[in-house]
Subunit: 251 residues, 2 copies
DNA sequence: CGAGTTCTTGAGCATTCTCAAACCCTGTGG
DNA sequence: CCACAGGGTTTGAGAATGCTCAAGAACTCG
């Protein structure tokens, strides 16, 4: 627990993230940015939360990359969600619920730990903040439903393409984003997120490569033909409910 | 649009539903029950919301049974959620977001239409109500994630068993519930919810019957061996985050 | 009784999985 | 700087789960 008191404006990325879907006056933004928090750094593979934990705080991802997953009694693992910097990781702990899922860092990540009560009282006092947080929850739910659709209805190739589109699109909207989609994902993780086997992911990725749509090399995707990918992926980013769309492209 | 002004205490089922997961003082409960609403009755198969709609109100299911689904560009349909009486159907419209999903009645259903602003101001004024609504959203999200897991990781038999367990369990917690799980579901709908083919659902159901675990006859499930079913289904109801569990049984 | 669902069954097929082994990176320690 | 360890990727062969298509039977509702 290598914590340190946060004083700087590192929560700005959180506000940026909320402003993708909800208008926030500067006063509200400032109130969020100046929330007291504790900074925590976690290595790749380390857990931020485990199944069954009952955390007493909320967590905002400041840098890095995090997955949410659930492992069943059968031992099978399903990745349920990925988080980018600025995303709140565990709003479910606003009201301390026992967690069904685990949160695990996919690379070196920094998070801000904030007190639930601090955030809750902001929500209670300022309607715009309640709106932003509630919409955040609603959008996460919409993304979850898209994942249900993805694993339930799409073929392996479409499914993988859709995942890449989603992550690429979200990455594109990060502050300081510069072209080129780099995602620290192994094929095993793609498999766990799509409900496929890593063997089959490998073969499908290979197919996409031979079709000159993208290439994959140790976590780095290079998308040659974004339109073909989005078309194939059945991807339309409306389910994010964001203001800033760059049309259908992911770059 | 056969509306009528609601005066009675029909929203009591909504409060009951919230109280499954969040303690609500009587004052708050009363405030919710006396919300003004408009009553609407919809036939089987009719839509309460369509993909792309932007509803300006929130809806509580009072009686009947409703599904949420999404149909992709490819024309494939995935059921994403089922709703029982007392469940709020479209909290995402609290802040009027364009819908990605459709809501469709599976049998004759009554809903209460309430004004978003009425509910929002209750949330703003009364922390317990904000808590109840937010927890409701969080629990729906948890259920969605269980569905991702279900469709992504479980075999056909387990998947179907899990769905039956979930619905049976939720039905059990309905007020005025009397033994015997009756769900107005066709095999096609089970297929659409589990990401399987109706043909395959039929064969799998048949298997479950021959194993003396349950029987299915025009929408009526009779569960012979609930323990075997829950065991097979990999089902544990913790993801509902409800106070009242009847252990592991579904009855 | 008739029309429209819904269910059932068969046969053949496709997609995806399992198992197993080899290969190839990348970072680490000697 | 090399060797090794360990994770990650690639390949093959065979098997299984679940799909498609198609048609007939059985309900249900008006």
């Amino acid at each position: 627990m290598n914590g340190s008191e946060g004083k700087s404006r590192q929560l700005a990325s959180f506000v940026e993230r909320l402003r993708l879907h909800t208008a926030l006056p500067d006063a509200e933004a400032e109130a969020l940015i100046t929330l007291p928090f504790r900074l925590l750094t976690r290595d790749r593979h380390s857990y931020l939360m485990r199944q069954g934990d009952e955390l007493r705080h909320c967590t905002i991802l400041l840098s890095g990359f995090v997955e949410r997953h659930r492992i069943g009694l059968n031992g099978r693992k399903q990745i349920l969600c990925f988080y980018f910097p600025g995303d709140p990781l565990n709003l479910e702990n606003l009201y301390t619920m026992r967690s069904d899922d685990a949160l695990q860092a996919l690379k070196l990540s920094e998070v801000a730990i904030i007190q639930c009560d601090d955030l809750l009282s902001l929500m209670q006092d300022r309607p715009a903040i309640m709106k932003a947080i509630v919409r955040s929850l609603l959008i996460d739910a919409s993304i979850s439903r898209e994942w249900i659709f993805n694993v339930g209805q799409r073929s392996a190739k479409t499914r993988i393409a859709h995942l890449i589109c989603e992550l690429g699109f979200r990455k594109t909207l990060q502050p300081h984003h510069s072209g080129g989609v780099t995602l620290p994902l192994t094929q095993v993780q793609i498999a766990e997120a799509t409900g496929l086997t890593s063997v089959h992911v490998n073969r499908t990725l290979k197919e996409l490569q031979s079709e000159k749509i993208l290439s994959y090399k140790s976590g780095v995707f290079t998308v040659y033909d974004i339109d073909a990918l989005a078309e194939l992926a059945d991807f339309s980013p409306s389910y994010f409910h964001w203001f800033r769309h760059n049309g259908d492209g992911v770059v």
